[in-house]
């Protein structure tokens, strides 16, 4: 589809290639969906709707299921089974199994060697590919944009729409170019980039927009780093974030189970190569950050926009001119039990969580392990390491990372969302502080009354061994 030679963005190209019906004054566009990911929490009511109306899943072969949110991550029993203690979770998982099997959707059940967090397994299995449209009843579907796919979260009614029709009604979003120039320093990671972006634009800053991450620092990231960045687009309010596919992307794709091969690979590459934004294409908005100036980031408040460089001081509500923002900051500091001007470096913590669809892939675990190796988790800290998928777990174990974590005193668990969302019993106790590699620090997100500092796997590991919030650069220099 050419457009009279007008330069176009990556987003526009993917959008145009999937338009079944153009948007008009009276109706949103109708978009075709290439890949639909489903999980146990946001799908049951959608399947019920299909049943009520006597509908089939239109394209089970473009749909995939996995169990992740409410699954336990406790070690397997002597039969190799992961026991489910929570009756409601058991029922939900059961319902999900039945739905997938009744409607012919392939699904990775708890304990399956390919089970894992939905946004970890899609890329891992080569299902996520450049130039696709991908949806899931989960806001962190933005993760898959790292491949140059247009990927976004939808609600349960929309899950039903896609199951039944493989299409979705969508108003065309605006675009923002997020340029990250320069190079990251030692101890600074993809997570710090995205936390810095969100701290800058605020959690509503990207509402109604799709981000395209560009610039040298993004190009230098591997696929897993790009996934970390795109994952948290939603935390800046954007439903989707994208990175143009390049050789890093193609190398990652080669040989994966569902990636095209042979002649199909060549045909796919011909399409993928057309995707990057044309020179001179216009974005509705632009922002630029310098990676050279970035240092590790950490959040202090109760939304991901309340972040700062790790050596910073907690801001004072009194300095906030906007009344609503001041109120929000007051409330956040009260919940976190922090005072204005306080520094987080050196603040005692209770738990370190390494996991979630943001930072539970093999490179994340390698980073954390390289740091932990030969050190001990502080006695006062509970450190949990939860791989994003069974495949990540297997890979990590083959590299001996599990031994490193265990030897240091950390817990090595089964794959799943775990303490990112605290639905499965993995949770903070009221009042506890955690350094977490997940994506949300909302009140109660990691357990009622729990207090979350979001940070990178390196910062989390440094804090685990120090027993307090710690700057990984200091320990790296040791």
């Amino acid at each position: 589809m050419t457009d009279n030679g007008r330069p176009r963005t990556l987003f526009e190209k993917v959008w145009n290639a999937h338009t079944v019906r153009e948007q008009s004054d009276d109706s949103p566009a109708v978009l075709y969906i290439d890949l639909h990911l489903v999980h146990e929490v946001t799908s049951p009511q959608a399947f019920s709707m299909l049943r009520e109306r006597g509908l089939m899943v239109r394209r089970p072969e473009q749909t995939i299921g996995t169990m992740d949110h409410s699954t336990p991550t406790t070690p397997r029993n002597e039969l190799g089974i992961i026991p489910i203690a929570d009756a409601m979770a058991a029922k939900q998982l059961d319902t999900f199994s039945r739905n997938c099997s009744d409607f012919g959707i392939p699904m990775y059940a708890l304990g399956d060697e390919h089970q894992g967090i939905v946004h970890v397994i899609g890329p891992e299995k080569g299902l996520t590919q450049p130039g696709m449209t991908i949806v899931c009843g989960d806001s962190h579907t933005s993760t898959h944009g790292a491949f140059g796919a247009l990927a976004f979260g939808i609600g349960t009614s929309e899950v039903g729409h896609v199951l039944a029709t493989q299409t979705l009604l969508q108003n065309k979003p605006r675009t923002m170019a997020v340029n990250v120039e320069g190079r990251l320093g030692e101890g600074v990671t993809a997570k710090d980039i995205i936390l810095a972006i969100i701290a800058r634009i605020g959690i509503g800053g990207g509402t109604g927009q799709v981000f395209e991450y560009r610039g040298e620092a993004i190009r230098s990231l591997g696929m897993e780093g790009r996934m970390t960045v795109c994952n948290m687009s939603i935390e800046g309010g954007a439903r989707a974030g994208m990175v143009a596919p390049d050789d890093t992307t193609f190398e990652y794709m080669v040989g994966r189970q569902h990636a095209p091969s042979g002649a199909d690979w060549d045909a796919a590459m011909a399409y993928w190569r057309t995707l990057p934004t044309d020179d001179g294409a216009a974005f509705d908005q632009q922002i630029t950050l310098s990676a050279d100036e970035l240092i590790p980031m950490i959040t202090y408040g109760t939304n991901p926009g309340m972040g700062m460089p790790i050596d910073g001081a907690v801001p004072a509500p009194a300095d906030e001119p906007d009344f609503n923002k001041k109120t929000a900051l007051d409330k956040a500091l009260a919940y976190m039990d922090l005072s204005p001007g306080q520094r987080l470096l050196g603040k005692a913590i209770d738990v370190v969580f390494i996991g979630s669809c943001t930072n539970s892939r093999i490179t994340d675990l390698r980073q954390a392990a390289s740091f932990i190796e030969g050190r001990k988790v502080a006695d006062s800290v509970r450190m949990m390491v939860v791989p994003g998928s069974q495949q990540v777990k297997k890979q990590a174990e083959s590299e001996g990372l599990d031994d490193i974590f265990r030897a240091a005193g950390a817990e090595w668990r089964e794959a799943g969302c775990s303490m990112c969302i605290a639905m499965n019993g993995d949770q903070l106790q009221p009042g506890q502080y955690a350094v977490s590699t997940s994506n949300r620090n909302f009140e109660g997100r990691q357990g009622k009354g729990g207090r979350t500092f979001l940070a990178s796997p390196l910062t989390a590991a440094a804090s685990a061994v120090s027993g307090v919030v710690a700057d990984p650069r200091v320990l790296l220099a040791d």
């Binding site: 989960d138 493989q166 509503g204």
Partner: protein, 203 residues
């Protein structure tokens, strides 16, 4: 879906900015397999004391003066965070049929409209005026005319709010969006005929 032309009801204010879906309904209530009964869980961690059952008398939703409020006035950027449609289900279950804010997170807004919960965007001044009214005079009512896209305040002032044509049509006529998409089967077949299937999950 039911047709929605007018609503009116008394207001209640939650002036916090960025009320996320984890506050609207915490994740531990998402282990359900249907939509019913989520009203009790709305704002659960603010609404009940430590035991999770005893109403917290300090929380505004529990104050008798606001019993029966059906229009929630909230701080900026309401509904950010997760895509859970349980958020509008819980608000509807708790008796709300409209939320007024200066802006809404995209996914929440979509989810709300699909369930007949009206997300009404107003300017800062109107939002602040509503907070004051709710505060000073519990029981203050507002009314909403969907067709005219107008919110009428107690002093008679009318404020327009944005609503895309399609959502408005669906609300006014009780149109079910799935029915609309199912009717486009021929267009979808034509699209599929002209484009490659990009991935197969079953092989």
């Amino acid at each position: 879906m039911e047709k929605i032309r007018h609503i009116s009801g008394s207001i209640i204010g939650l002036p916090a900015n960025d009320i996320d879906t984890d506050q609207i309904i915490p994740a531990r209530f998402l282990k359900v397999t249907d939509k019913a009964g989520l009203g009790k869980a709305a704002f659960c961690d603010w609404r009940y004391l430590e035991d999770g059952e005893t109403p917290n008398p300090a929380f505004i939703l529990n104050q008798p003066a606001y019993a029966g409020a059906s229009v929630l006035v909230a701080g900026n950027n309401f509904g950010c965070g997760s895509s859970r449609e349980h958020a509008p289900w819980a608000l509807l279950g708790a008796g709300f049929n409209a939320v007024i804010s200066t802006d809404f997170a995209d996914i929440f807004r979509n989810n709300a409209l699909k369930n007949g919960l009206l997300p009404i965007v107003v300017d800062r001044d109107t939002q602040q005026q509503l907070f004051s009214l709710a505060d000073e005079d519990p029981g203050t009512t507002v009314s909403v005319d969907v067709e005219a896209q107008e919110l009428t305040l107690p002093d008679g002032r009318r404020v327009n709010f944005p609503l895309d044509g399609f959502s408005k049509y669906c609300l006014l006529h009780g149109v079910d969006q799935l029915g609309y998409l199912l009717a486009l089967e021929d267009d979808v077949l034509a699209y599929e005929a002209g484009n490659p299937q990009r991935v197969t999950t079953t092989d």
